[in-house]
Symmetry: C2
Subunit: 464 residues, 2 copies
């Protein structure tokens, strides 16, 4: 039996997520990000396609590396303006039943005590369909606005993240016992106070003595997402994440990445398949190969080289305005750029040496990830090939234009995937965790968060 | 022509807002606060009644004064569990067109930079129907969980609040000029960077050099709510607030309070009617006086004395568990309690000396505010009398049971108010600010927030 292909949609509460300049395409609706109907329509579309989830990226800050300032970034709306993603969830949850919502939130900008309440609230309101993309990095341009609290070094940030998650797990998993809430009208007892515990956390970065403010939600801990690419980020993902988002440019690199993640998961005592891994992909699909390529070429025409370079300069920390568009990419001082280009060249060995313009051109349709263009059968073949080769679970699908790219996937690709028996016709029952793994709704016992479930007993033991 | 009566609904993302024990009433749906449908149904109900808004209270912490701990509070679900109110707004906005949403958020728990983005996002998504209830106080039980950042003295808190609002106004009003966003597809310019300004704020508590992350929303600054009762709080309200929530127990005290607020507004250079003032009220209404009183007595039976005392102990900082229910209220060491009781006694001079039990009994139906029970005509008479006497604009209506109390108001009271020509049949057009004042959508020029509109020009001048 062929292996199922899991699909996830990638968006952001802004105008131009990963398709620089394409807000100018006449069919793009991205600038409607300010309107609820954009999001409720998108959620319903993705639910019709039985996507696992909508992953909403976020940055709290702006890209100010290109040209040494923000002007080009602001002009091209390169992920700015950018609105708060959490505010979108309840409206989308109200018009869907199966779609999951992966919300990006940085541990640098909010204390875990109110944050844990925010996520529990969303888990209640979505009936257990919420995930948290744990972000440990941030843009300096954002941190500068938040003062000293956000000024931590990169390595230190992961130590903070470990403790941040510990506080959250204690609140989510340990503070309220399963049978604490009685709702006993006759006895006049809503909650049994003996079964609600202050977490008594005293760590290096946080002191949280109190109880969680929320009663247990369907999943308790939301599904933990992680998208970090560094070795430390990958280790963090291996320890905590249940949905991991990679951005490998070739299937060979992806195979190595996925193998490394699953190996690390085994090493920390988890099942290597306790995390679903999605690789970034931009898929341009239409009824036929010719139509798909015509669509691709039309999209590409609306791309903007400078807009792309504002984004990539921000990502890589290299001011690409210092180069001419015709400069060979080899002259750019950025290992990240070289790795990406080497990988793209491997996929297209006859392309010759790339220039700065080439990397910009590549990036305008869905960013710096891999891309596939073709008929439904071609795209499905491509996906199945990567899945089988790299042991990945599915794809995190970026858009070129929105919702057009997603509409094409639902209209053209999903029927083909269903015909092949690799995509679901209905959602599995239950919470997001149950839909992803067939078990739940709570974290599996082998997840580190599960170790805080006996908090009440262990605190009582310590006090006795 | 009689003066219009403005209605506002008062709720909280928890089980028992201000009706201790009434979650046990068979018709109460309050424990469905975890479900989206509770909130979307409520929003649609209030919209049918043409309420100005739904004001969602919040506390980040628990009441732990009664009995010197949290046990009784947890047992009675006295405003705990309590979920995040901000997560409710977008779902309610999606099913309504005219209702406003007043969101409570404390300046003690989140940095103004991400908070300003959160509010701008909501203002976009609601098409300009959002208000912010600025809270400067907090429960110690909450602050203890958030570390040193939240440990400020009461007086200092208002200084922080002044600067917090200054940062927000600069971001909301001054960072993006009205014509900054061009969306010019032909020229490839989404935003003109010359019209977006870093706010360069350097104050005592916050340093925020950057630009606001959001493009201008319909109202820019949300409608500012204030509900503080101290002299300093009243001054803060006079300076900033556009909707002020009082809780005077008698119309005489209310007249004094409203007069003082409007006088203070005039003193700071605002129009004294630039704020709508709503007094707290619990109204139990039915077709006839007899039915209303039968309903009231039925509700009261479900009240819980101890639950009421957990709430009042928390509010007043006095452990009422140290008294016997039959103790005369005069023995309780709390000026706040004495003032409230004196006012209630004035309304009911034949009631004799109150005991601790009496104050608990009063409080179970809608908290410590004033109460009216009667036929639609009686309740309307009462409201008109208070409005005319005290120069107040309307009422902030607490529930005894939810949504039952609100259903009664919409079904029984609204037709009577409309018949008298004092309640609207349709919402005025535009944003919440326009619905409240007939002008907008932006802050009026005489509001202090409006002084930050020329930020770009003044920064350029300073730099020249």
């Amino acid at each position: 039996m062929p292996r199922p292909i899991r699909l996830n949609a990638f968006d952001m509460n802004c105008v131009a997520h990963q398709s620089p300049g394409l807000w100018r395409h006449p069919e793009d609706r991205a600038w409607d990000y300010r309107k609820l109907s954009y999001w409720t329509d998108l959620a319903q579309l993705l639910e019709r396609g039985r996507f696992d989830g909508l992953f909403i990226a976020d940055v709290l800050g702006i890209y100010d590396v290109y040209g040494g300032g923000r002007d080009a970034t602001v002009r091209h709306a390169t992920q700015v303006p950018v609105n708060d993603p959490a505010m979108l969830i309840s409206a989308m949850a109200a018009v869907t039943e199966g779609l999951g919502f992966g919300l990006t939130a940085s541990i640098s900008f909010e204390h875990p005590y109110p944050f844990a309440r925010r996520m529990s609230t969303l888990d209640h309101l979505t009936d257990g369909r919420v995930g948290w993309n744990v972000v440990t990095s941030y843009l300096d341009s954002g941190a500068r606005n938040l003062g000293a609290a956000a000024q931590l070094t990169h390595d230190n940030r992961y130590d903070v993240a470990d403790e941040y998650l510990e506080v959250c797990y204690k609140l989510w998993e340990g503070s309220w016992e399963d049978d604490a809430v009685l709702r006993d009208r006759a006895a006049g007892i809503f909650t049994d106070p003996a079964k609600v515990h202050g977490i008594e956390h005293e760590g290096e970065f946080f002191k949280v003595p109190g109880i969680h403010l929320c009663e247990p939600s369907p999943q308790r801990s939301p599904v933990i997402y992680q998208a970090g690419a560094s070795a430390r980020g990958r280790q963090f993902a291996a320890e905590h994440a249940e949905a991991i988002f990679t951005a490998a440019p070739t299937k060979e690199i992806l195979k190595e990445t996925v193998g490394d993640i699953r190996r690390r998961m085994r090493e920390v005592g988890r099942d290597p398949y306790d995390a679903r891994i999605y690789n970034l992909l931009t898929a341009i699909v239409d009824e036929t190969k010719a139509k798909a390529w015509a669509k691709h070429d039309d999209l590409e025409r609306y791309g903007d080289d400078e807009a792309a370079l504002t984004l990539f300069s921000g990502w890589m920390g290299v001011d690409l305005s210092r180069y001419d568009l015709d400069d060979p990419i080899g002259e750019v001082e950025s290992n990240a750029i070289h790795s990406a280009v080497a990988a793209f060249q491997q996929a297209d060995p006859e392309g010759g040496e790339w220039t700065v313009r080439d990397i910009a051109r590549w990036g305008v349709v869905g960013g710096l990830g891999p891309r596939v263009v073709g008929s439904p059968a071609e795209v499905a073949d491509h996906m199945q090939e990567w899945i089988d080769y790299a042991d990945v679970d599915g794809f995190n699908l970026a858009y070129a234009i929105t919702p057009g790219t997603f509409e094409d996937l639902v209209e053209h690709l999903m029927p083909e995937l269903r015909r092949r028996g690799v995509a679901p016709t209905e959602y599995p029952p239950g919470t997001l965790r149950e839909k992803l793994f067939g078990e739940g709704p709570r974290l599996p016992d082998r997840h580190p968060g599960a170790s805080y479930r006996d908090l009440g007993r262990s605190l009582a033991g310590a006090g006795a």
